[in-house]
Amino acid sequence: MNLLFPALLTVVFIFTFSDPEMGMSINSVVPGLVVYAVIFIIMTVAQSFSSEKKLLRRLNTTPMTSTEFIGSQIISNMIVAIVQVIVVLVLAYLMGFRPQSSFEGIFLALPVTAIFALSSVGLGLITATISKNPEMGVGLSFLFILPQMFFGTFMPLSTTTQEIAKFVPSHYLFEALKSIFEGNWINTNFFFNLAIISIVSILTIIIGIILYEKHGNL
């Protein structure tokens, strides 16, 4: 599911949005598709942590701590995020995406996206904390997914929404990836964007772990 969804999204969105008449080329859509894939980790984490509360509670009676369990989930989700980027990029390449950067440049997209995945896991944990069941977890996760989808990717923004986007973490990942794929990351705000992504992600994951351990019925 974690891989099928971004693959499907890539194909559908490239067909739908990469139309020069709409002012969008395939190259401007792809960074947003990578962001989409990672944002949806919020939903999968919220769902799995809501449905596995009893199991997590049981694991907590073994020498393995809940922090270790959550840690393993974080690592696996970061790996999933990296694989998602690869899937999106390979599919996009097959559909005509031609990034301006070198291979090494594109490689940079992987760790940057993996760092951002931390924020998705953190938001997923926050969602799972307040969810009573997996269905509620999926529903509530859209409170975090939708703003990031619409304000933080390639959707056309008005002056007002451009201001809102500054408060949406995915906006900074989108900008960072755009500069990587355009091959001019060294001359842009890339490091500023990376700093914002890192700070927000670390803060979100810490808050997520604390809230889930304290109030997530562990």
Binding site: K54, N60, T61, P63
Partner: protein, 312 residues
Amino acid sequence: MTSEVKNLLKELTRKELLEIANQKSIRIPNNWSNQLIIELLSLNVTSDYLQKNKSKTTKSKKTSDNTPIITIKNLVKKFEDVTAVDNLNLTIHEGELFSLLGPNGAGKTTTVNILNGIIKPTSGNAIIAGFNVTKNPDEVKKIIGVCPQDASVFPFLNARENIELFGNLHSLSKKEIEERTDKFLELLGLTEASKRKAGGYSGGMLQKLNLMMALINNPKIAFLDEPTVGMDARARRNTWEFIGSLKDEKKTIILTTHYIEEAERLSDRVGIIDYGRLVELGTPEELLQKHEAKNLEQVFLNITGRRIMEGL
């Protein structure tokens, strides 16, 4: 001949009588008096059989000594306005099979969850094998096995994988895990189904798997929270035998149940809990004698004015 058998039977406790009935596959209704059970058994057993059985029960009784392994002092747990555990004081001895008996919602699971470190008490404390459950939960987790009320297993793994995973979490060797897994699967009759994904198991099979996962680490103390809920009569009997065999391994077992027969058959001592308070404590025989009751259900009824299955 029959009178000799009867005399031998009269020397036995109710629990021992029920054990013999179980061995002979004789179903004894809960409301039967000891005298009635003796009459029935005298027609089905010989004095030789009883002599052999006596040596067995004596051996099993010796598995419990009087060294305290769990000490609970003034334990209180409140959930907002509800007091789930109300000033509980209790000592459980090493090698003892201790049952916490009470209706649903009486505070049995909350007590067990405090003891195994899942939830923190509002006040009071509990010491397990010398470790304070609040201050040294990691030490406690190394020596306990917990079988939760709801079967909590990984549905996408098969029985063997689920058990092995828990063995690995307790850092057991591969050989030890394999040996114990094979033994448990055979004892509980799950060998054939062990390669099927647990997600497709029936309620009874899940409960058995739940129990095996709790015991894979060969724990010194096992917390079994309603381990036979959802099982049919045959599976329940099979599980009782399995739990009984744990006593031979000198394990301390804390069993929470609302099944009277389960508590009567298995327990060395029973603590009756109601509204979070320990209202009675003793061996099943002591409680029956003290309350002049035929079974523990009647004991509970005498104390609380309600039946256990009625709940709170």
